[in-house]
């Protein structure tokens, strides 16, 4: 979201799912959509059947990669190197869109200089992707009339996640693959309302509708509607909050629908910080591990089926959630809890009879939501922002202005970002020679609070997935429980052989933290701009529980990635 907002001024995917079906080249980068976003992948499959070429860029040969024309299996954390090599090749082969670059972008010369060292051969050394495959992707992407760049947490969950995003956006700018039907840039959101949280202003630097909190006009409109003074400075994102908690500057915490005791990298450290708070309130539908640490727990209703409201999806579509069942006794709607708190804090004027009243207040303050009445949302199956008008609809893609004939109509031009590559913080060494990356399985979700109740025949519990050759070298058998250690801690898990992992690469999920807490291993190396931790790249070692095993154990494994 930060990367897109930096370049285009709006933190949202630029295309719609339907456009994936009508494009010529689809790049899934750091995204296993077949498992993590299965119904989005249906649109990809339709695109493939309509003739699109699919490239999947992922360290693992995932279920999505099996549908690709070409899988580029790069080393974990070498994304910028690969993106820069693609950009350099497109420029060197003179395949870039001169008219778009000259008329609609800025900072091209800096970008060209930044990618200049990244020859195909140099990139092959750093990324592990054969030069021919890089060239093939570069040429297909640049020659396509329409192309889509899609990514997920494989790009953002790095210490330089925002730079990763920017390096991909550069490629779309280079080829003019943005602002047209079928050509665009799409982050696939991991949670059902992560986009909506941003839309509504639940980010430290924006008011609702992505209006800057430092913008006096915007702030004054909100102050007028709310009859209060809004402090004109940025708040803290989650990582900055944890840092402030550690320094004892932030001493009380109100956690709504989040489980940081299990979802944060280096979870032992996170729990220690939470325990040091003077006061913590947790509002959730379950007594989570975080709630167990709280002073006060406020039982909430499940937003998606026990309350009325809206959520926003990955294609910026605002849709209605509706109450289908009554909540358990004692559980209350999030807004009821928050307004009750406001009353106790001396604001009895906070009074909203229903969710539509709250929504209509938002519509009056956020121009991009103004046209989204409940009745229109109902009638049209949801509406995509921006939707400033009550009568008309905007195109399904963003930033068409960049193609305006008259340069003055193009507005703020899109800047290239000459970012620099930096590998993972947690470096491989002889002591920690295996690269561990994390992700999701098809039938599970995040820390398993919701998905754990599915009686899924697919579920196999947490495993350490290893390349079979690596396992043999270590003298480890399938299903054997091993000791897995990083520089932060150790856990035990059974091993599963997976020949879709390249040698030196291991995989775990974060779905079963109560049994096996993988975030004991992960590193809290946070992106300074987004606050996201580098869940995707830990350096680990794997040891047999009983050291007498066999002599191969002493042999060092190959170092992957660096």
């Amino acid at each position: 979201m930060v990367g897109l907002a930096t370049v285009f001024g709006a933190g949202g995917g630029t295309s719609s799912y339907r456009e994936i079906e009508d494009t010529d080249v689809i790049v899934l980068w750091g995204s296993n959509a077949r498992f993590a976003h299965p119904i989005f992948f249906h649109h990809v499959l339709t695109g493939i059947r309509n003739g699109a070429k699919l490239f999947v860029v992922d360290p693992r040969r995932t279920a999505s990669a099996r549908w690709a024309d070409r899988w580029l299996g790069l080393h974990v954390g070498s994304d910028i190197a690969l993106a820069h090599a693609i950009g350099r090749e497109i420029i060197a082969a003179d395949l870039y869109n001169h008219a778009f670059v000259e008329g609609s972008t800025t900072h091209f010369d800096e970008y060209r200089a930044a990618v200049e060292p990244w020859t195909l051969e140099h990139a092959e050394l750093v990324t592990g992707v054969p030069a021919d495959a890089i060239r093939e992707l570069a040429h297909a992407f640049a020659k396509a009339d329409r192309a889509q760049m899609c990514w997920t947490l494989g790009i953002t969950e790095h210490h330089n996640g925002v730079d990763n995003v920017l390096s991909l956006i550069n490629l779309n700018l280079l080829c003019g693959h943005v602002g047209r039907y079928g050509a665009g840039i799409n982050p696939l959101r991991g949670q059902n309302n992560v986009q909506g949280g941003g839309d509504m202003g639940a980010i430290p630097n924006k008011l609702s509708g992505f209006q800057d909190i430092l913008d006096d006009d915007a702030r004054h409109r909100f102050e007028g509607a709310w009859n209060c003074v809004i402090p004109p400075h940025h708040g803290k994102h989650l990582t900055q909050m944890f840092e402030a908690m550690e320094r004892k500057e932030l001493r009380a915490l109100y956690v709504i629908g989040e489980n940081p005791a299990q979802s944060e990298a280096d979870s032992a450290h996170a729990i220690h910080i939470l325990e040091g708070l003077e006061h913590m309130v947790v509002q959730d539908i379950f007594l989570t591990k975080t709630a167990e640490l709280a002073d006060v727990v406020l039982p909430a209703t499940a937003a998606w089926c026990e309350t009325e409201g809206t959520v926003t999806n990955s294609e910026r579509r605002v849709q209605r959630v509706r109450k289908a069942i009554n909540p358990p006794e004692g559980a209350r709607d999030d807004t009821a809890i928050i307004t009750q708190l406001a009353h106790r804090m001396g604001h009895p004027e906070w009074d909203y009879p229903d969710s539509e009243t709250i929504w209509n207040e938002l519509r009056s303050l956020s121009p991009m939501h103004t046209g989204m009445s409940y009745s229109r949302l109902e009638e049209l199956g949801g509406l995509q922002w921006p939707c400033p008008s009550n009568d008309t609809l905007e195109p399904s893609f963003l930033h068409g202005r960049l193609w305006a004939d008259d340069p003055t109509d193009r507005g703020q031009l899109a800047p290239f970002s000459p970012v620099a590559w930096a590998g993972p913080v947690d470096q491989l060494s002889n002591d920690f020679p295996i690269r561990l990356t994390t992700g999701r399985r098809l039938d599970s979700y995040n820390t398993g609070v919701q998905s754990g109740a599915i009686a899924s025949p697919l579920r196999q519990g947490e495993t350490l997935d290893l390349n079979p050759d690596d396992a043999v070298r270590l003298g480890i058998e399938q299903d054997e429980v091993v000791l897995i250690s990083s520089r932060r801690g150790s856990i035990q898990a059974p091993v599963r052989f997976d020949s879709h992992l390249r040698p030196g690469l291991a995989f775990m999920t974060m779905h079963f933290p109560d049994e096996i807490d993988v975030n004991v291993l992960t590193i809290e190396a946070n992106d300074p701009k987004s606050g996201t931790a580098e869940f995707k790249a830990s350096a680990i070692r794997v040891d047999k529980l009983h050291a007498q095993a066999n002599s191969n154990v002493d042999e060092h494994m190959p170092i992957a990635g660096e």
């Binding site: 339907r18 009508d22 976003h37 299965p38 119904i39 989005f40 249906h42 499959l45 059947r49 549908w67 039907y181 696939l188 959101r189 991991g190 949670q191 059902n192 992560v194 539908i285 379950f286 007594l287 499940a302 937003a303 998606w304 089926c305 026990e306 959520v311 999806n313 990955s314 294609e315 579509r317 849709q319 209605r320 959630v321 509706r322 289908a324 069942i325 009554n326 358990p328 559980a331 109902e378 009638e379 049209l380 199956g381 949801g382 609809l393 905007e394 195109p395 399904s396 893609f397 098809l442 039938d443 979700y445 919701q450 998905s451 109740a453 599915i454 009686a455 899924s456 025949p457 697919l458």
Partner: protein
């Protein structure tokens, strides 16, 4: 609910005029006779027709007479032509429909197929002319209950292949099921007839979504029917948004006694076209009142 695709792809379609039961009806070129009947307000029975699938012409229950055509034609697949004269309810069409319903009803348990009972009455179909359906070999096969999410009861299967198409290239592309055997031995099967947990099934339930007869059924529904507690008249349907990833799939929650008993997705919503994944289809247990602690 109508999703607007803001940017049209393809050329606008010409209008075609045809006659249905004596009335002139104008529909876009490329429509089927069934589409034209719907726009005319004529209700035809269908079983193998799926609004999200290509027609398979398997069940023949929607046949109509088209003047000049030797055989009756399946309305679900035949495109309209200008000047076509269609009879949906004359003696020949009604007689054929009655026979089809009797043949299906005498070899398949249609008790969980919505609306079939009404059609049987409408067309005076009497499947018992062909024997007691409950003694038929096709009906006496036990339901396959090999996992906790959904049940395959092939005593209810009319071999319409919609599940195969939904699992295969038309939607899910998992290819976990196909038609095995030929002729009287034809049946829907996993590879080598293995149990579902050993098959390529990913439990999206997109086959359940399209099954017209209840041969594929949520285990909750199967168990409630067995316990005689399944009561569709007492159920509500509420459409909301899936609580998992950010795609924003619409879920229609079927609730009975404040409990979610089944999940479907609107076929006319462009995000899902009725399709879900295992999380959206079966991931509701965490809010069932007994499970919250």
């Amino acid at each position: 609910m109508n999703m607007l695709h803001e940017t049209p792809v393809g050329l606008p379609r010409r209008a075609v005029t045809l006659q249905i039961d004596g009335d002139d009806v104008k529909v876009p070129e490329g429509s089927t006779i069934l589409d034209a009947c719907k726009s005319h307000g004529t209700d035809l029975p269908t079983l193998c027709y799926g609004d999200t699938l290509d027609p398979v012409n398997a069940c023949r229950v929607c046949v109509v007479e088209v003047e000049g055509s030797r055989a009756l034609v399946p309305s679900c697949s035949r495109p309209v032509e200008s000047g076509m004269v269609v009879h949906t309810d004359n003696e020949r069409a009604r007689h054929s429909r009655k026979m089809v319903l009797e043949l299906l009803g005498s070899s398949v348990d249609l008790s969980a197929a919505p609306r079939v009972y009404g059609w049987m009455q409408q067309y005076e179909a009497d499947p018992s002319r062909f024997g007691d359906v409950n003694t038929m070999k096709t009906v006496r096969q036990p339901a396959k209950v090999d996992n906790d999410l959904y049940v395959r009861d092939y005593s209810r299967c009319i071999l319409c292949y919609k599940c195969v198409d939904a699992c295969g290239e038309q939607w899910q592309n998992s290819f976990a099921i196909a038609v095995a055997g030929r002729g009287f031995d034809a049946r829907i099967s996993t590879e080598f007839d293995v149990e579902l947990p050993d098959s390529a099934c990913v439990y999206c339930g997109n086959c359940i979504e399209v099954c017209p007869t209840g041969a594929l059924m949520f285990k909750t529904e199967h168990d409630m029917r067995a316990a005689n507690t399944w009561d569709e008249d007492a159920q509500q349907q509420t459409t909301t948004i899936c609580p998992y990833c950010g795609v924003g799939c619409n879920l229609t929650l079927h609730t009975q006694d404040n409990t979610i008993v089944k999940v479907t997705s609107p076929h006319d919503h462009a995000i899902t076209s009725g399709n879900l994944c295992i999380k959206g289809r079966f991931g509701f247990q965490h809010v069932q009142t007994f499970a919250r602690d």
